[in-house]
């Protein structure tokens, strides 16, 4: 098991955002987390990546207990994530945005910066290579010197992926990677996620686009009102009456998507 979540709960005041959720993600799998709006999916990711401390429960990653770790340490252990909004530095170039991804594997400090030591030069070179490698993976090499402000939404998503990949992760958490991109581009993003899994990465993703999830995911977990209501292969989920009810009972658009499957 790459990632193991046991009995995870999070309450915000009186709100039970995540309620006793269990999850096991196998190495190399694409594991999707779906559910109606407000089901606690993003909170679930925030708990795994260390942004919120869980109220109770346990998270283990490659046999490390990461339940109470701060985000930066979790990243060092090999969990990367992307956000719904890309958060990139608009004024800087694509390459500049991605280079910093390797920072967690470097040690150069103030001294190295002022005296431009051998270590600084070597690590700068490594970071640059790593960034190009990541850009190559997401097929954006030719845009390396373009400012972020000039590229499309889908390309920004790819840059965010590249940044996550530059941290050299084993597990990637993607929060709605296909939000805000058109259907054609969604296919491209799907192919990219598949490519990540094929290269040995474990992928966990939140997504609303059902057709994408059903063709991409190895396993799916369904959250509703903070609770895990189902977990299984896409086929199992598709025919699960509890899941269908949860979607029908919430948002009309989403229920339409499920029944259309």
């Amino acid at each position: 098991m790459a990632l193991k979540v046991e009995n995870l709960s999070k309450t915000f005041g009186g709100l039970q955002a995540v309620n006793q959720v269990d999850l096991e993600v196998k190495k190399g799998d694409i594991h999707a987390v779906i559910g109606p709006n407000g089901a606690g999916k993003s909170t679930f990711f925030n708990l795994i990546s260390g942004f919120h401390p869980p109220t109770s429960g346990k998270i283990t990653f490659n046999d490390h207990d990461i339940t109470k770790m701060p985000p930066n340490k979790i990243a060092k252990l090999g969990i990367a994530r992307t956000f719904q909004t890309t958060n990139l530095f608009e004024d800087a170039t694509v390459l500049d945005n991605v280079i910093i991804g390797n920072r967690l594997r470097t040690k150069s400090g103030l001294w190295d910066a002022i005296f431009r030591t051998k270590r600084e030069k070597r690590e700068e070179k490594e970071s640059l290579e790593k960034a190009y490698e990541a850009l190559d993976f997401v097929e954006l090499t030719e845009l390396a010197n373009e400012p972020i402000a000039n590229i499309s939404q889908e390309q920004k998503k790819r840059v965010a992926f590249a940044l996550a990949l530059a941290t050299d992760p084993e597990l990637v958490l993607l929060d709605e990677p296909a939000a805000g991109v058109n259907p054609d581009e969604t296919e491209g993003i799907s192919a990219l996620i598949q490519k990540m899994a094929d290269s040995g990465l474990t992928v966990c993703l939140i997504e609303h686009k059902m057709s994408m999830i059903m063709s991409l995911a190895d396993r799916i977990m369904v959250l509703n009102q903070g609770k895990r209501i189902a977990e299984g292969t896409p086929d199992e989920i598709k025919n699960n009456p509890v899941v269908i009810e949860a979607y029908l009972g919430s948002d009309e658009d989403e229920s339409a998507e499920v029944t259309n499957l």
Binding site: N72, A75, F83, R103, T106, S108, D112, A113, E120
Partner: protein, 333 residues
Amino acid sequence: MAKLLSKRNGLIFVLVVALIMPFIVPNDYILHVLALVCIWSISVYGINIFTGYTGNLSLAHIGFFAIGAYTLGLLTVKAGWNFWLAFLAAGVLSIILGFLVGLISLRTNGHFFAIYTMCVGYIIYLIIDKWDSLTGGVRGLIGIPGPASIGPITFESLTSQYYLLLFFLILTIFITKRIVHSLLGRTFIAIRNSEELAQTIGISTKKNQLLAFVISCFFAAIAGALYASFVRFIGPEIGGIFLGFEMLIYLVIGGLGTLSGPIIGTLLIVFLTQSLQFMQEYKMLLFGPILLIIVIFYPNGIVGAIEGIKRKTRQKRKKSGPNKGYSGIEEVS
């Protein structure tokens, strides 16, 4: 390559002008103001490292300027230390105090951080103002010695003092440039861009913010110590919030998070202030609108605006002409 050369030539030109200044200025008064510009600039570069590049507003900066000035003043006047030893002590003390203040204040974020540090700055001011027996209170501290001679080099004339201050300014700019263009500088910029994202990619934001804060306090204290030795008299008002905001204005007008912004802003505003001396307090009537216009239309100051124009013309040229495809890392200036 031609562009790089012209940029380098520009730098050399500015440096040469700075070096021959003492021989071309019509009177000592202007040289005196230029020396002060050097001092203010060092301090503004300090603000720039923390506020400009790392993205948090510290209003305690002026307090550290005063700490530097008073450390040097007290150690030389009251304890009779050697000038350079006292100068070093000012730097070391600012690092220690900066570390402690940063450690606590960085537990807050955003506006709260600004408010907290403003309180710290004001406490430093109050200590200086009220601790009469140590600091001389409102009467201030007089008779601070100028920089002691190093071997055959003495710093008695105004010209030599100007060169000393210019040396420290160039050193400050050099260190800033090295930091900004290093992995550490990229880390600072990543934090300014988004603390959340920086954490996700494994950056310890608090640790790096603390480092930037200490560096900024160090520059402030060095500038303060140089100020004390240049003006030879210090009073509690050098730790006052007004001077602190004035330095912040230099930075905002010059360009937050730019390498040449601090010196350009300082130079411009100091000379503007000098030439508007006849307006006395009313000169603020002129500064207010200028500041507003810059903040609204050019949030990255004069340097930021110029760079924006440059970037646009470069893109236009790229789109019309054949793609030159310049490679390598774009400099984060």
